[in-house]
């Protein structure tokens, strides 16, 4: 028989020490400070140049072009993506195949190559002609280079490519909606279009918006690829300036800072949008700012 020990213990709980956490934090802070020091104390990086060009006419103009490219391509890509998604989900086997082929082709080749193809489109087709095939009837004919300016070529490349990705995102969103919803909508006499626009899409948006936000943030950065066809965007402008003054690093810093700023704003917008489309799914509305900050890029 073991001896019965009296059951007693102190009430106070000693605080945990987390020594490992403190050590890790100290190392990381030291490393960060070191990186900052090498950046700011580096004589090869002229801060005066950065300050001078940050708000310069050319850079701001490039920024506007970048924003135009991103917004137009994202909107066009989303609309086209919805059409491709509907093709993929059609009862018609030919429609389904065409939808799949589109995605296969546009997703299977690099965006950079697609941009180069659209930028050099005049090498494939000298003229773009509207007419009736097999007859000599021509309604209009344009010089390809006159129609496909670098801006238009950039928009085409970015939005057609984006459509392939958006199609898959939208399709998965549409498929995520309970079939009973379609059924109920049909039963109260909604048309197929009303069923899609009033019942299915609003619910699918909950699934569609988070990855679309990522797509848009990607798009903001991807526009820099059009600098290979001198698209006039932020990076094109930065490169043009540095080609003249040889301040390559400074201008890359200027461009990066602007990209970072713009993607940050987009992330906050995304968080707010997600909140809007969570209606009916969260009993308690999360605080606006807390949600917004949580969406910031890592």
């Amino acid at each position: 028989m073991s001896q019965q020990a009296p059951l007693s213990a102190p009430d106070e709980i000693a605080p945990q020490r987390h020594l490992g956490r403190w050590a890790t934090a100290a190392v990381l802070l030291a490393l960060s400070a070191l990186v900052c020091y090498t950046l700011f104390a580096n004589p090869n990086l002229n801060h005066g140049v950065i300050d001078h060009f940050f708000f310069s006419q050319a850079i701001l103009h490039g920024l506007v072009v970048t924003l135009e490219l991103a917004v137009i391509s994202q909107v066009a890509g989303t609309i086209l993506g919805l059409l491709v998604a509907l093709l993929r989900m059609s009862h018609n086997p030919v429609s389904r195949t065409v939808g799949s082929l589109y995605i296969w082709l546009l997703r299977g080749t690099p965006l950079l190559v697609q941009i180069l193809i659209w930028g050099n489109f005049a090498l494939f087709y000298k003229h773009i002609t509207v007419g009736i095939p097999g007859t000599s009837l021509v309604i209009a004919s344009y010089n390809t280079n006159a129609v496909l300016t670098t801006f238009v070529a950039s928009i085409l490349a970015l939005s057609l490519n984006e459509a392939a990705y958006m199609a898959e995102i939208i399709r998965s969103g549409l498929l995520s909606v309970d079939p009973g919803q379609r059924e109920a909508a049909r039963a109260i006499g909604l048309s197929p279009f009303q069923t899609l626009s009033k019942v299915v899409l609003p619910q699918a948006l909950r699934v569609i918006i988070p990855p679309s936000g990522n797509q848009f943030i990607n798009m903001l950065k991807m526009t820099s690829l059009v600098s290979v066809i001198a698209g006039g965007d932020l990076l094109t402008q930065a490169e043009n300036i540095s080609a003249a003054n040889l301040r390559t690093v400074e201008l890359l810093v200027v461009a990066s800072a602007w990209y970072l700023l713009v993607t940050t704003v987009a992330s906050i917008g995304q968080a707010l949008l997600e909140r809007r489309f969570n209606r009916g799914h969260t009993a308690v509305r999360p605080r606006r700012l807390r949600r917004a900050w949580r969406g910031l890029p890592a």
Binding site: D178, G180, A184, I188, G189, L190, S191, Q194, G280, A283
Partner: protein, 260 residues
């Protein structure tokens, strides 16, 4: 007066599975008819054919004298196009087992949607009607609640209000209480009893024998895609003519009294 629903030799297959094998059924105007039967017996499919959510393969279904899903052209039937098929559907209200309320809309918006969007009513008129309907199912206070914020019983009552919003001449119920917790079944059945008392024609797929006995004018037992027998509910429940009916009824009773 012509009957509200007439089904005649209705057959329906999905792939190689024949779900309905020659159904003949009549629902007089103002009647309540309950459909019972084991799962897979074709009750829900029959309901969906009546509503034109599915089209029958052979045979005919008339609702209020209208041939459902087809139009007569010469000596043949032609599948209805989407628009007239939709037109037929809006005269029939349907209540689903899983409610299928639109989760992104409030109770009020769920009910007001069909009048506003389908019938093109003024927003104010549609909202006033929706408020009246919510009051009728005892949920006036829940008008601004989203489906997630309501109990199953409340959701199903909103779904009933939604089905009533286009003033249907026929109401279809597809196991309206099967997905509910037992203590919530009563509130939904109460609403249905009230509707029956108002003289709305109802075709109800249900396992609630007490509801069938108290409310239905006719009880129909289906099994394997055919109607095994039908008749006044009290008689059919007390003394079924077929062995299949008898064993099904005793199974249902065992489930309901709860052998734990």
């Amino acid at each position: 007066m012509i009957p509200m629903v007439v089904a005649e030799r209705v057959h329906k297959s999905f792939g190689h599975t024949e779900v309905l094998r020659g159904i003949d059924l009549t629902v007089e105007t103002g009647q309540v008819v309950c459909l019972i039967g084991p799962s897979g017996s074709g009750k829900s499919t029959l309901l969906r054919c009546v509503n034109n959510l599915e089209t029958v393969d052979t045979g005919h279904i008339w609702v209020d004298g209208q041939l459902m899903g087809y139009r007569v052209g010469g000596s043949r039937l032609h599948r209805l196009k989407e628009r007239p098929a939709r037109q037929q559907r809006r005269c029939i209200g349907m209540v689903f087992q899983h409610f299928n309320l639109f989760p992104h809309m409030t109770a009020l918006e769920n009910v007001a949607m069909a009048p506003a969007v389908v019938a093109g009513e003024d927003r104010d008129v549609a909202v006033a009607r929706a408020d009246a309907l919510l009051k009728r199912v005892g949920l006036a206070a829940k008008r601004d609640a989203y489906p997630r914020q309501m109990s199953g019983g409340q959701q199903q009552r909103v779904a009933i209000a939604r089905a009533l919003a286009l003033q249907p001449k026929l109401l279809l119920f597809d196991e309206p209480t099967s997905a509910l917790d037992p203590e919530l079944v009563g509130e939904v059945l109460t609403v249905m009893v009230d509707l029956a008392a108002e003289g709305i024609t109802m075709l109800v797929v249900t396992h609630e024998l007490s509801f069938a006995r108290d409310v239905a004018d006719n009880l129909v037992f289906m099994d394997g895609g055919t109607i095994v027998e039908s008749g006044p509910p009290a008689r059919l429940i007390a003394s079924p003519a077929h062995e299949r009916t008898r064993s099904f009824l005793s199974r249902i009773r065992a489930e309901h009294t709860g052998i734990s």
